[in-house]
């Protein structure tokens, strides 16, 4: 295990472990944390730890940068709100922006890139039109095949970029590609979404709302009168389910340590305030056909970050070892390691996203286009 990212895992799990680090150890830890886009999170975790002067300056930089990313992310959300002011349906923030908007621990120091939002699938054309015509966003890709591919098979619109701010927005209508095995209940996600509590103080622009907590079964296409004045976030269970789906059921686990840290924070924070949280989560995950993903993500978080999960969720599954090997495949120079494990997970990510016949067709089209180019 020498030289791999277990040092980073340990530092996040228990900041006091960094007291044993020498200069070499710190150097490796910082390079790994940067490569995994966890340097801001690490800086936040270590804010009360005694660290060498040189390290504290690096961590200050990381905190300052995380502050900038948070400000920009909330501003992008604000801009989207303005562009969608005349849209009647719910607009739900996802991932990093949702965490900081709600003031959740998962958002502390977190790297945030694009803005991700979720809307009703049948409203995609309306939302798209508002963003393009009123918001100043433009398509990134003009490629017809990729466009059709997105529209037919993906869980989001092709990415849009803002013409002046150079920031991307991903508009989702569900949380997994349509071609993937599990079919999450997208209406249920929207229906159960809630307003970020102003008390948690993420500070979304117009948020003077006296929070209308969406009822679980309120149909999303019927806007609640309080819809004006802000954005929604997923319910606590759905948020963890989305996080697990993103980590386990979609993608090749690149940046997985960060997503798993999100999972750890969400489970820990929500289960502290709601004693039934885990039971509700299992029920809800089953409803979304994502219990295996949630279960695995919870086990991995427990194993790596020491997340407190129910006894009956614990236990060891044969494949978990491979996930851990993949998640920690990073050396002290910030380089990816374990090429073979990475390759396996890369292939797996394509497999998960689409049935074999479609995968073959997809790769063939890509290949033909590449060939034409030469």
């Amino acid at each position: 295990m020498i030289g791999d990212a277990m040092v980073l895992v340990a530092a996040l799990r228990d900041p006091a472990t960094t007291r044993a680090l020498d200069a070499h150890g710190w150097t490796a830890l910082i390079a790994m944390a940067r490569a995994e886009q966890l340097i801001g999170t690490l800086a936040h975790r270590l804010s009360a730890e005694p660290v060498p002067t040189q390290v504290s300056e690096i961590l200050d930089d990381a905190r300052s940068n995380a502050e900038h990313q948070k400000r920009s992310a909330l501003w992008e959300a604000d801009c989207a709100t303005r562009a969608l002011a005349d849209y009647d349906g719910k607009v739900v923030l996802l991932k990093g922006t949702a965490y900081v908007a709600a003031g959740l621990r998962a958002g502390e120091g977190r790297h945030i890139g694009d803005l991700d939002i979720l809307v009703a699938r049948e409203d995609l054309p309306v939302v798209e039109a508002f963003l393009l015509e009123k918001g100043g966003w433009e398509w990134v890709k003009e490629d017809a095949y990729d466009d059709a591919y997105y529209r037919d098979h993906m869980h989001e619109l092709p990415p849009l970029i803002h013409k002046d701010r150079d920031r991307m927005i991903d508009v989702h209508h569900t949380i997994l590609p349509l071609t993937a095995g599990p079919r999450p209940d997208a209406w249920g996600l929207l229906g159960a979404s809630v307003k970020p509590s102003p008390l948690q103080g993420g500070g979304l622009g117009e948020g003077e709302s006296t929070a209308s907590v969406g009822q679980l079964d309120s149909p999303p296409s019927q806007p609640s009168p309080q819809k004006r004045g802000g954005l929604y976030i997923l319910s606590p269970t759905d948020m963890a389910i989305h996080c697990a789906a993103h980590l386990i059921a979609d993608g090749d686990l690149a940046g997985g340590l960060r997503n798993l840290w999100d999972m750890h924070c969400l489970l820990t924070e929500f289960s502290t305030t709601d004693s039934d949280y885990f039971a509700t989560l299992q029920q809800r995950a089953t409803h979304h056909q994502l219990w295996p993903a949630v279960h695995r993500a919870a086990r991995l978080a427990h194993e790596l970050y020491g997340t407190d999960i129910p006894k009956e969720w614990q236990g060891w599954y044969r494949q978990d070892k491979w996930f851990i090997r993949r998640l920690t495949a990073r050396d002290g120079w910030g380089r990816p390691t374990r090429k073979f494990t990475r390759l396996i997970f890369y292939v797996r990510s394509h497999w998960l996203r689409m049935p074999p016949a479609m995968l073959a067709r997809h790769l063939f089209t890509k290949w033909r286009k590449a060939k034409d180019k030469i």
Partner: protein, 99 residues
């Protein structure tokens, strides 16, 4: 259908750091972290708006109390254009009523 009268409300003054340089005035917006470089009449418009929701017409009246606006241009059209430009950037906000 008659379009309802548009009201505008300025971003709260404590969110803006306004720094006049020369012909150019800088506006740093704290909430967005974005810097804008503006020229006349933008700083004057923002100041004249104060804290209330105003219409373009009311704003023109307010401005002409303080400044000589000349007579050549359609002042309300220009002020509306600037308000819309500011609204696009999130420096002023469109609102339904003056409440």
């Amino acid at each position: 259908m008659v379009a309802p009268t548009k009201y505008y409300i300025a971003e709260p003054a404590d969110q803006l750091w306004v720094e006049p340089l020369d012909a150019i005035t800088l506006i740093y917006q704290r909430r967005s972290g974005i810097t804008h470089m503006v020229v006349e009449p933008v700083p004057e418009i923002l100041t004249a708006m104060g804290v209330d929701a105003v219409t373009a017409a009311a704003l023109v009246a307010k401005l002409s109390d303080q400044f000589d606006l000349g007579t050549d241009e359609d002042a309300e059209a220009v002020v509306t254009a600037r308000l819309e430009e500011l609204a696009e950037l999130g420096l002023v906000h469109r609102t339904q009523c003056d409440a």
